[in-house]
């Protein structure tokens, strides 16, 4: 599957790495539910590191949509919550 690591780019990830990524993802979700920013950042960084290490980087000019997107790990807890809320954190660029 194709995984995007936000602010880094896209990777192709196969095999058991996908399962390990999903496990980390569950833990990241739990950390967010506990409002544990340090743990959340740690899991998100681990996820990005796993994708970087075990995945194969897609060329920059590849236009394939991603199957999964790892959110950025450098957000504060408040920013992460806003990112997932209806208000959103990504600015509107439509005209």
């Amino acid at each position: 599957m194709i995984v995007r690591v936000m602010s880094e780019g896209q990777y192709r990830l196969e095999g058991d790495a996908v399962g390990r990524l999903n496990q980390l993802d569950d833990r990241a979700q739990e950390a967010l539910e506990r409002d544990d920013e340090a743990e959340l950042d740690r899991y998100l960084e681990e996820m990005a590191a796993l994708v970087r290490r075990d995945g194969e980087r897609l060329p920059d000019d590849d236009l394939s949509p991603s199957d999964a997107i790892v959110p950025p790990s450098d957000l504060t807890l408040a920013e992460t919550k806003m990112f997932f809320s209806d208000e959103g954190l990504i600015p509107d660029v439509s005209k």
Partner: protein, 244 residues
Amino acid sequence: MGLMSRTSNVVRAWISKLLDRAEDPAVTLDYSYERQLELLQNVKKGIADVVTAKKRLELQTKKLETELPKLDEQARQALAADREDLARAALERKAFAQEQLQSLDQQIDDLAAQQNKLAASEKRLSAKVEAFRTQKETIKAQYSAAEAQVKIGEAATGIGEEMADTGLAIQRAQDKTEQMQARAAAVDELVDSGTLEDYTSSGTSLDRELAQISAQNQVDADLERLKGELASGAPQKELEKETK
């Protein structure tokens, strides 16, 4: 649902909001392309803004670094004049300036990281924009309306992710830059108005007292020099020679 799925949902929703307004596939392609070009301009501007902010902080660092020896010298003069209170005040200012310097170093590093991130974003987005430009003409020319719809959906989503990502990176760099500009302005004001030199409660009187000590030292030194000259008599002869 894990965070990756939630993130995908957020990004997909952002993309459909962006492309919602156009029903005609060809219009969607052109509209998306226009926004991509705009975003590329914005990311370039974002990089320029970060560089400007970074330069300003670097200038500030230089300015503060020149303050340090001055404050040291003031403290030395105050001590020589047996004014430990003044020496302490001068050293407190020095400590404050050093603190500012450390925080400036950190901020400059942060801005450099933002600059690198934006530059990498720009590189990725421009590669995708170029690929999209080629693909959109192919789609327009070769596919039936129904097929084109699917192809457009894929291409627009693929590049839409990069646009959302870049949009967020620009926003975050801008926030950081603004924060640091505001702090830089505050420190600039402190240094320029000389407040860094009298941020203590003793205020300008401290400067005056230090200046007085400095002047006193100069007067004492001059007196010593003149006394020495009189005792040796040498400069007197020099003066006579000159008047002849």
